[in-house]
């Protein structure tokens, strides 16, 4: 069953074709890697999928919570999140001056079942719901082992934990599709391995379909079933990790640049 499909998805910034004619088809429960050198257009794809950028051309179809396909071209980001697709940001966009718990609580926003009036006058619905919300949020934090930091300000967390909090916050929206933009960036190899295990775990536990952006190719090879490779906004390959590893185009476009960068 396809949960996410793009048809000829393209976007132009001035004269730059940042993404060109992208056709993606993601199946329910898949863990797909989206790789490519810096500037290839990966984050831009996420921004179009989540409504931050409007595509210049093409369509995006997403399955909502009732398994109906929706064309999300005209939707606002919050409406797309409401359909069940959530994301993290490559340049961490936490609510820095709020507590860790409040960050998750805000992620839980779509599941708040009391009205603002009930909050203003502290009616019973407020207490009942806030108690449930806090329990659920702490439960999610526990998965990533940052539950004990609930009352700290998000900006005071170490970098790796900030990345984890981004994932927790996205999970709090109760998505069925999760888009992770370089979740391991800036982590050391040990933290990265743990994170990959966690990603596998949440995929099982919450029955998620995940698209993972990562520019470290070795890393994605380990956990993704399928990999899409972008270069200069175009899809140059798509296949299993083994296929990708031996694809000459990928080796040329991608690894060539890695070598350049390393040099």
């Amino acid at each position: 069953m396809t949960v996410l499909k793009t048809e000829n998805l393209s976007i132009q910034f001035g004269g730059l074709m940042a993404v060109a004619n992208l056709n993606l088809e993601i199946k329910k429960g898949e863990l797909v890697g989206l790789i490519g050198p810096n500037g290839a257009g990966k984050t831009t794809v996420f921004n179009m999928l989540t409504g931050v950028y409007k595509p210049s051309e093409g369509r995006i179809l997403v399955q909502d919570r009732n398994e109906q396909n929706q064309d999300i071209g005209q939707l606002h980001p919050y409406q797309i999140t409401a359909l069940g697709m959530a994301r993290t940001f490559q340049n961490i966009r936490l609510f820095k001056n709020l507590t860790v718990l409040d960050n998750v609580r805000i992620g839980n926003h779509l599941n708040v079942k009391y009205k603002s009036v009930e909050g203003i006058f502290r009616l019973p619905g407020y207490y009942r719901e806030e108690k449930r919300i806090e329990e659920e949020c702490r439960e999610l934090l526990k998965i990533f082992d940052i539950e004990h930091k609930g009352d700290e300000l998000a900006k005071n967390l170490p970098y790796g934990e900030q990345r984890k909090l981004e994932i927790v916050r996205a999970l709090a929206t109760k998505p069925h599709i999760l888009l992770l933009d370089e979740p391991a960036a800036g982590m050391n190899p040990q933290e990265t391995l743990e994170l990959m295990d966690l990603i596998k775990y949440i995929r099982e536990r919450f029955a998620l379909t995940i698209i993972l952006i990562e520019h470290d190719m070795k890393l994605v090879m380990g956990i993704c079933q399928r990999i899409v490779v972008l270069d200069y906004g175009r899809m140059i390959a798509c296949g299993t990790p083994a296929e990708i590893a031996h694809n000459p185009l990928v080796v040329k476009a991608y690894l060539g640049k890695e070598l350049e960068n390393d040099a």
């Binding site: 999140t81 609510f95 926003h109 203003i120």
Partner: protein
């Protein structure tokens, strides 16, 4: 002592303070002049609290709260003088009218990004003032509107009743705003200030919450103005000029953007300061801007920034006095901890 007990004790303390102050006003221990200054301070605080909601908590700069104050004041006066409505009904009506104006201004403006709201509210404040000058049947025109019925005509009770009503309203506004801001809906509002793109990605209808916050902000601003009409008994368009809007902004900035405690402290302090400096005549008008500049340079997070931007929480204070509050309990006691 349980958390519930702390709350009960806190409510009792607040009630006692209000009653004691009122008795002091009644016995003229707080003389008529002082009680008048305090009442004006209370009204300024109410309006500044409204401004803080949209500018401090939602992160959208607004520069026309004197306009909302005017709408509230003149509407209340009209409801009392033309329709002979009871004072409190008229006050509520004034606040509602102001909220309606806020909604109308917000609808086209808050869709746009950036500082459009600041520009539009600035224009709004001036337009309202010019309107007030040119609608003499309703407002008495440039000469002002005289003969607005006051809270009471009784010479002895008038300062007491004004003081009591204003401070009761102020307390209610503080408590209810604090409740809102500590709820999940309040968290949504604050998240817009923190990062609009991330808030949107969390499923928050940013436009809806901006409209909500701005309409409520206008309601509170109008409420302050509405109280002003029967307190003073006289209104003139010049009371609601741009200078006045800036005064509210300075109260919010000095107290700390996004901090209710700070607004109360700074609002009362600055109103008093302005009275003390009356001997400076027109030079006193430069005091506010100078304070604003000094704060922005040396202490941009305001007075409460010196205290880690925490809200003063009476329940927490009572808990500490009782000495039995467990640290775990404290951390889950969110009352007043907005930041």
């Amino acid at each position: 002592m349980s958390k519930k007990m702390n709350t009960v004790v806190s409510v009792l303390i607040v009630a006692s303070i209000l009653i004691i102050l009122n008795v002091l006003v009644m016995l003229r221990v707080i003389d008529e002049y002082a009680s008048q200054v305090l009442t004006i301070a209370g009204i300024n605080v109410i309006i500044a609290l409204g401004l803080n909601l949209i500018s401090g908590f939602t992160g959208q700069l607004a520069l026309g709260h004197a306009g909302f104050m005017a709408v509230g004041a003149y509407t209340t006066a009209a409801l009392m003088m033309k329709l002979h409505l009871p004072t409190l009904v008229a006050v509520f009506g004034g606040a509602l009218m102001s909220a309606f104006f806020g909604f109308l201004i917000g609808l086209p403006t808050l869709r746009l990004r950036g500082d459009y709201l600041a520009i539009v509210t600035l224009g709004f404040g001036e337009i309202i003032r010019v309107l007030m000058i040119n609608l003499p049947e309703l407002t008495g025109g440039p000469a002002g509107l005289k003969g607005i019925p006051t809270f009471t005509t009784n010479f002895f009770w008038r300062p007491v009743l004004s003081f009591a009503l204003v401070y009761l309203t102020m307390t209610l506004v503080v408590v209810l705003l604090n409740n809102l801001l500590n709820s999940s809906h309040g968290a949504a509002i604050i998240s817009i200030r923190e990062d609009e793109i991330a808030a949107n990605a969390m499923g928050i209808n940013v436009f809806y919450y901006k409209i909500f916050a701005f309409t409520l902000s206008a309601f509170i601003g109008g409420l302050g103005g509405a109280l002003y009409a029967p307190f003073f008994g006289y209104l003139s368009p010049n009371m609601f000029n741009f200078q006045k809007s800036v005064e509210f902004l300075i109260i919010v900035v000095l107290g700390g953007m996004g901090n209710l405690t700070g607004t109360v402290v700074a609002g009362i302090g600055l109103t008093y300061l302005q009275e003390i400096l009356r001997f400076l005549k027109d030079y006193r008008l430069v005091i506010y801007p100078i304070i604003l500049i000094i704060v922005m340079i040396f202490q941009p997070s305001g007075i409460m920034g010196l205290f880690g931007n925490k809200e003063f929480s009476l329940t927490r204070f009572v808990g500490k006095l009782a000495g039995k509050q467990l640290s775990g309990e404290q951390s889950s006691d969110k009352a007043g901890e907005v930041q």
